[in-house]
């Protein structure tokens, strides 16, 4: 580890934390405050949208109605995207004359972009026309918004009492698009272009290289796309290698800018949460727990990456692991980015995760297995973290001698039932589908790296799917029908089987009376609770996935470092 590397990591972490309050305060103004400074521009547009679409902005929805509206909106997006991908060849803006997508890939991709996973079983520049990229971008704008709506509704479960309703989905959706998404997208797209990201409708460039060879350079309307993909924590790259592509991230500055916009909403949401429930310490505590786990992850990954791979050391080489890492980022920034984009349910990559050292690759994997609660994308991470907080309160809360309560809401059988359901889903999906994959021909066919690393690839795919992350151990044959369907299922379960129970909890909590906090109440702010929360996230995650990890990354690590040749595997 180098000094600039370590200092750089700490400075970036501080910068991320510094985003929380301004962004959170702005979100508060959008959802609960009287008005934002964008009101004169967006206000009339907002009212016009309601009028054109028949939305009654005063109408309050119960949680079931809220979920229905959300699902139907997602379904419309899914159907639209699926159809357009299937008929790409007859649609405009296709200078490379790329053909239609098949049903497997169209299903997988449509699910992937609807669920904010942005798992890409295809290579962008070789598969998608400019028009299809634009359709994908629409989902990259809209699907994170639906995630944020879920979190806002969930938080209302805590901030309201004796209430039946959680707000109006159409209003939350519209306000998020107009007041949060579009303004930031526009500015950040232009910043990205200024830093070197192309934005053009010209076809790919044919060039004769300096040496005299021929090079075809893919380009396109990347700026607008990149902005949407990163601000919304989508990570569905324009190009195959995602943010690692020099056009997507021409340099460290561009990558850092992308990190900052991507992490802004999730981090700001913690502050928003505190403000909405009337105690900002609650939000800071959650953020502290998140950032502590995050920084630990970055340093473990970074530490693993700077060690010389023992197999390469045998060749007389020494130096950090640079396989799959672009030199303009180097090990430190790559470690930071890979940890961040899996801590956030984001999935953009600037390095080849498949080529990370075993323990290095385990960090993104564990981030996703623990439910991507460490920071989380638009809404869904905080939602998961609050579900963990409910668990923590329930497990340990009894120890203060009161029945468990969180933020004044009693945690009872119904909440636990739903939280358990949300917790069981990732376990069942990741372990169940991975077990299926390693026992079936179709699954085994996709494995690229042999031995324990192959298991890691499979675990990573389903963890990424269920966590709606979208990053991958890229060697896996994700385009095989087995994986397009199973990962597609994982994404659907990850999004809906986890977050519908979460909203059910919110609906139930909103109905409850709030018990005011006193000296006898379980304190859910401060260092003790932050440590407890971290312990619950890490222990629950570790307990669930330890055996699988032991046969994947841990086995690979110990075999590699104890001088054993890689045995086993198929």
């Amino acid at each position: 580890m180098t000094i600039p590397g370590v200092v750089g990591i700490l400075v970036l972490t501080a910068a991320i934390i510094a985003l929380a309050k301004p962004v959170g305060s702005y979100l508060y103004a959008v959802y609960d405050g009287p008005r934002t400074w964008l009101e004169p521009v967006m206000g009339p547009l907002e009212r016009r949208l309601y009028r054109w679409t028949g939305v009654d902005s005063k109408h309050e929805m119960r949680w079931t109605e809220y979920v229905f509206a959300l699902l139907i909106f997602n379904l419309v997006g899914f159907i639209a995207l699926y159809i357009l991908l299937r008929i790409q060849s007859v649609l405009p803006f296709n200078p490379q004359h790329l053909p239609d997508l098949g049903p497997h890939l169209s299903f997988n991709t449509a699910v992937s972009f609807m669920t904010n996973t942005n798992w890409q079983a295809y290579s962008g520049e070789a598969t998608m026309s400019y028009f299809s990229q634009d359709m994908l971008m629409i989902q990259q704008v809209l699907s994170p918004i639906t995630g944020l709506c879920m979190a806002v509704a969930f938080i209302r479960g805590f901030s309201r009492k004796n209430a039946d309703t959680l707000g109006n989905f159409w209003v939350d959706l519209t306000r998020t698009l107009l007041f949060v998404a579009l303004p930031v997208l526009l500015i950040s797209a232009l910043v990205l272009v200024a830093m070197g990201t192309p934005d053009t409708l010209l076809p790919y460039a044919h060039v004769t290289t300096l040496q005299g060879g021929h090079q075809l350079i893919a380009r396109g309307p990347v700026g607008a796309f990149e902005s949407a993909m990163q601000f919304g924590d989508n990570g569905g790259g324009f190009f195959n290698v995602n943010a690692g592509h020099p056009f997507e991230s021409p340099g460290a500055a561009s990558l850092i800018f992308q990190m900052m916009i991507g992490v802004s909403i999730p981090v700001g949401l913690t502050y928003y949460f505190g403000k909405a429930v009337g105690d900002t310490r609650q939000g800071w505590t959650i953020l502290a727990a998140m950032m502590a786990m995050f920084v630990a992850g970055v340093f473990i990954l970074y530490h693993a990456e700077v060690a010389t791979n023992p197999l390469l050391a045998q060749l007389g080489l020494h130096g950090p692991n640079l396989e799959g890492i672009d030199w303009r980022f180097g090990p430190a920034l790559s470690s930071f980015f890979e940890t961040l984009t899996t801590a956030v349910s984001w999935g953009s990559t600037a390095a080849a995760n498949d080529s990370l050292m075993p323990l290095g690759g385990m960090i993104p994997l564990f981030n996703m297995m623990s439910g991507e609660v460490i920071i989380g994308a638009w809404g869904v991470g905080l939602l998961g973290m609050l579900a963990f907080a409910i668990m923590a309160v329930f497990l340990a809360g009894l120890m203060v001698g009161r029945t468990p309560e969180y933020l004044g809401k009693k945690i009872q059988a119904f909440e636990i039932k739903m939280a358990v359901l949300a917790m069981i889903v990732p376990t069942f999906v990741i372990l169940g589908l991975a077990a299926w994959a390693v026992s079936s021909k179709g699954g085994l066919a996709g494995i690229f790296n042999p031995g324990p690393h192959g298991l890691s690839e499979i675990l990573y795919a389903f963890a990424s799917g269920v966590g709606n992350n979208g990053s991958a151990f890229g060697g896996l044959g994700a385009a095989l029908p087995f994986y397009t369907w199973t990962v597609g299922l994982a994404m659907l379960f990850g999004r809906f089987a986890m977050y519908i129970p979460a909203l059910a909890i919110a609906g139930s909590l909103a109905r409850k009376q709030t018990v005011p906090a006193g000296a006898g109440t379980f304190p859910t702010h401060g260092a003790t609770f932050a440590v407890l929360l971290i312990a619950v996230v890490v222990i629950v995650g570790a307990l669930t996935f330890f055996p699988a990890l032991a046969l994947g990354p841990l086995a690979e690590h110990f075999q590699l470092w104890s001088g054993h040749v890689i045995g086993g595997g198929k």
Binding site: S123, Y204, G244, G251, S456
Partner: protein, 193 residues
């Protein structure tokens, strides 16, 4: 419920127009009008012809040029990819071994321990335009010899072309191989004339 479905369809269409047409159109318009160079891919011209894009690596194999990193994509800028080889994969060892042998062969007199990792491992994008100063310096004797230039001049060229870390903290000190080779070509030209 029907009402909500109808609302969903209408709202989706309107939002798709906002997010999918109006927003990218504004970005495209402003970019093309004010930042056409970047917006079209930062293409590099040399003597009136396009020789590449500034941040896209390209293949250099001739001993007269500085070489970039091995590329899993073979520097095909329409099919970016990483090798995705895992750290314990024997195939990785094989590839690195081959790259190392090539480097050692092209730059005689080097020992493996002097070869930096970036020169024998493939990048994430397969289009990495950069190499480390160490990787550039070790090619100086070869490049100087092949171009008939004094080693000191080439070494100075390398030193001039090193870019530092962003804010002194982020990324690694690096050289853009295309930029370096363009400077080299100019140097050769000016020396020759």
């Amino acid at each position: 419920m029907i009402r909500h479905t109808w609302t969903a369809v209408r709202l989706f269409v309107l939002m798709a127009i906002l997010a999918g047409f109006i927003y990218p159109a504004i970005v495209l318009g402003i970019s093309q009008l004010t930042m056409a160079y970047q917006a079209n891919g930062s293409l590099v011209h040399y003597h009136g012809r396009v020789v590449g894009a500034k941040m896209i690596g390209q293949s250099f194999t001739s001993p007269k040029f500085f070489h970039g990193r091995p590329s899993a994509a073979d520097y095909n800028a329409a099919a970016s990819t990483a090798s995705n080889l895992g750290p314990s994969n024997p195939a990785l060892v094989k590839e690195v071994k081959a790259s190392l042998a090539l480097v050692l062969k092209q730059n005689p007199g080097l020992r493996a321990s002097q070869v930096p990792m970036d020169l024998v491992t493939s990048s994430d994008s397969g289009l990495d335009p950069n190499i480390s100063p160490q990787a550039a310096y070790l090619q100086v004797p070869r490049v100087a010899r092949a171009n008939g230039l004094p080693v000191s001049v080439v070494r100075a060229l390398v030193t001039r072309n090193i870019h530092g870390r962003f804010l002194g903290l982020y990324g690694e000190p690096r050289l853009n191989v295309l930029e370096l080779n363009l400077a080299l070509v100019s140097l050769v030209k000016s020396n020759g004339s």
